[in-house]
């Protein structure tokens, strides 16, 4: 089976003093028909990677294959089959929704009619409104419509839901899901882990220009060690002896100190709660708060990329 995307040892270095190594040897395979999420903190190299794959940026080194073709030889053929929504595009203010979609449709040999594209993102009512009059969510949906109108086999969405209200986000999710159901490949970047968890078949976590984790959201969560988390807060700090004892409790995989207390990853929270409470009581540590929840992709993300704010971006 041909892959939708295959990247081998992708490198992108921006000239400067010192040179910025945005992508440093990234490998990535995306299967046809899957929804693939590219996650990572700001400045991790997501957008650079995406733009290299989209043929908008030339890699410093490495190979890219898109739908079994390369940009050097088959740029025109690839373009006909891609739909792209860039991170931030301000479309012409004084064109109507319909006019913008019609314009983009004209670039593609085959595709949807402008009306179909509008219907897919539920913008029919705004067909004759100027772009400048649209709300943020409507603009994002219009951007998506311009990516959909060529009926692409492979769709790239760079932070499609950033800055949107919950309703608009869910509306976009529905559009993306329906695309996947029709067998199209979708690659998206997002900062919302819940979004990636819900939408993506597989995700890759990118940091410092490299892919540091790859798999289905479930796999990544499972790789954390336990799929459940116990968070607790005590009066002051845990004495180191107690802390060590905590780590040795049955079922506990890891213990991490967070700004608001401690976080245990456990396989089965029911079997750890009683011993934990006993341990704290025996050592006269006052428990202030205790919650349990299942692990999310966000926990994976934070544990992989750390909690510290990045320099630069």
């Amino acid at each position: 089976m041909t892959l939708a995307i295959r990247c081998k040892q992708l490198v992108k270095t921006y000239p400067g003093k010192p040179p910025v190594e945005a992508v440093r040897g990234l490998d990535l395979d995306v299967n046809i028909g899957e929804c693939f999420g590219l996650l990572g903190p700001n400045g991790a190299g997501k957008t650079s990677t995406l733009e290299i794959i989209e043929g908008l940026l030339d890699p410093t080194a490495g190979e890219v294959e898109v739908l079994g073709m390369t940009w050097k030889r088959d740029a025109v053929a690839i373009r006909q089959r891609l739909g792209i929504s860039l991170q931030e595009t301000r479309l012409s203010d004084k064109l109507t929704v319909r006019e913008v979609i019609t314009l983009f449709r004209s670039f593609y040999r085959n595709g949807l009619s402008p009306d179909e594209a509008m219907a897919q993102v539920s913008l029919q009512e705004k067909a004759h409104s100027y772009v400048v009059k649209l709300s943020g969510g409507q603009k994002q949906r219009l951007a998506l419509a311009t990516a959909l109108v060529g009926d692409p086999d492979l769709l790239f969405l760079d932070e499609p839901t950033t800055g949107l209200d919950p309703q608009s986000r869910r509306q976009l999710w529905d559009v993306i899901r329906s695309l996947r159901e029709r067998g199209r490949t979708v690659v998206l970047t997002t900062h919302y882990m819940d979004e990636a968890e819900r939408l993506c078949d597989r995700v890759a976590v990118v940091d410092h220009g490299k892919c540091i984790a790859l798999g289905t959201p479930r796999e990544l969560i499972a790789r954390l060690g336990g799929e459940h988390l116990v968070e607790f807060q005590v009066d002051g700090e845990l004495p180191s002896a107690v802390r060590e004892a905590c780590e040795k409790l049955p079922e506990v995989q890891t213990l991490r100190q967070e700004s608001e207390g401690y976080l245990l990853t456990v396989a089965d929270p029911a079997r750890v709660l009683a011993p934990l409470i006993d341990l704290l009581r025996e050592n006269a540590v006052k428990l202030e708060r205790l919650t349990t929840r299942t692990a999310t992709l966000e926990d994976v993300f934070v544990s992989l990329t750390g909690r510290h704010l990045r320099d630069g971006q």
Partner: protein, 419 residues
């Protein structure tokens, strides 16, 4: 409602040929409802309707289930987008169409030609000759239409001379053998001229030789407005190319729109051609407007070869498009674009003979000034419009414009940053 009527008229002419009158009625009705719906959508942008109705290819689904023309030509769609954006921007309309007209009107009026020669002469009716002599002289002067004669008493004529309401006061003598008395201010040219005119008329009286036959020379293109108008056309083409291509392209780059277009299978040549094509359409409308206005108000017309005139306009326009594209080729911010555009425009505004002749600058600057594209364009336009020149006179300017145009385009395309 006149909007609707023009829309209806457009549809009707189109439809009569295609669909027959019956269908045309339906279609007009359909578009009327659509028009109403749209008006409700955004009442505050009603201006948008003029171009929309004028340029829209009908896509009413009741008659065209799938309109291929509408979707298939990217060049046309890109051009259409440019036209729509432009005509929906009232400020742009004002600058492009309003500004040159206002400039032409103001400057044309300020520097308009002197009226027909008029000589104001007062005749005193209380001098030695009395009323009878005054009337005799008045009748004599009336034979020449240049004279505007007032007959009055001493107090009145002295006052009128003092406040320059008359150029000459004549005090008729008692008899025809005695000399008349002239009262005038020798420092005022019109007084001296009036004196000479009255004197020659009185001397010629009774002479067998008739007065000279006067024929005024109608020198075409001699007025200031004749000089100004080609210059206005020139700066319109320049501003159109630099702003309409240069500034606009940078704006698209800043908006990420250029990158977005490149991310589609759009042909880059289509994009560039659409910029040219839309400029061409704007230029034609600007030129027609300015020339029409100039013809109506100042009776200015193109005296030379009209085809040569059009060629100069098109080559000039394309040449400035090239300059605009060069400015836009690597510029990443609006501020920088604005700086570059002004850097290119301001010197030419002053040096290239828009408002006054470029010949006034010193000789050592002439080779530079004469090789500027706007100087070449203005020279060629003036040669054709005012001097009635043909192809021969515009070979040089046309060559300069072509060199600029080809040079700018080649360089711009080489270094243009699409992504």
């Amino acid at each position: 409602m006149c909007l609707f009527r023009s829309q209806a008229a457009i549809c009707e002419t189109a439809s009569n040929a295609e669909l027959g009158i019956r269908n045309a009625e339906f279609r007009v009705r359909g578009i009327l409802t659509e028009h109403k719906q749209r008006s409700q959508c955004h009442q505050n942008v009603s201006l948008a309707y003029i171009p929309k109705s004028a340029f829209r290819i009908p896509h009413d689904s009741r008659f065209f289930t799938h309109n291929r023309r509408e979707t298939m030509s990217p060049l046309w769609q890109l051009t259409l987008a440019r036209l729509r954006e432009f005509f929906r921007e009232p400020a742009a309309l004002l600058w492009v169409y309003g500004f040159p007209l206002v400039l032409a009107i103001t400057l044309g009026m300020a520097f308009r030609d002197r009226p027909v020669e008029q000589i104001r002469v007062d005749i005193r009716n209380d001098g030695p000759g009395g009323v009878a002599a005054a009337e005799r002289l008045s009748a004599l002067l009336a034979t020449d239409e240049r004279f505007a004669v007032t007959v009055s008493d001493q107090a009145a004529v002295s006052y009128r001379l003092r406040v320059a309401r008359t150029d000459l006061v004549v005090i008729p003598a008692a008899s025809e053998t005695v000399a008349n008395e002239f009262l005038l201010d020798v420092n005022r040219t019109e007084c001296v001229l009036a004196r000479a005119a009255v004197e020659s008329l009185t001397l010629r009286q009774g002479s067998p030789v008739p007065p000279p036959e006067i024929r005024t020379v109608e020198e075409p293109g001699g007025r200031y407005i004749d000089f100004l108008l080609p210059g206005l056309l020139g700066i319109n083409l320049m501003a159109g190319g630099l702003f309409g291509v240069g500034f606009l392209t940078v704006d698209m780059r800043v908006r990420n729109l250029l990158k977005r277009y490149v991310a589609t299978p759009m042909k880059r040549s289509d994009f560039l051609l659409s910029l040219m094509l839309s400029r061409l359409i704007f230029t034609i409308s600007e030129v027609v407007l300015l020339l029409g206005f100039a013809y109506l108000f100042f009776e200015i017309r193109v005296r030379g070869d009209f085809l040569a005139f059009l060629t100069v306009l098109v080559v000039g326009g394309i040449s400035f498009c090239g300059l605009g594209l060069l400015i836009a080729s690597r510029t990443r911010t609006i501020e920088a674009a604005s700086g570059f555009v002004n850097l290119a425009m301001l010197p030419m505004y002053i040096l290239s003979g828009v408002f006054f002749s470029a010949d006034r600058f010193p000789d050592f600057a002439q080779p530079f000034i004469q090789s500027l594209p706007l100087t070449a364009l203005n020279n060629a336009l003036r040669a054709i419009m005012n001097d009635g020149a043909g192809w021969a006179a515009i070979v040089n300017p046309l060559a300069i414009l072509l060199v600029w145009g080809i040079g700018c385009f080649t360089l711009a395309l080489k270094i243009f940053r699409w992504k």
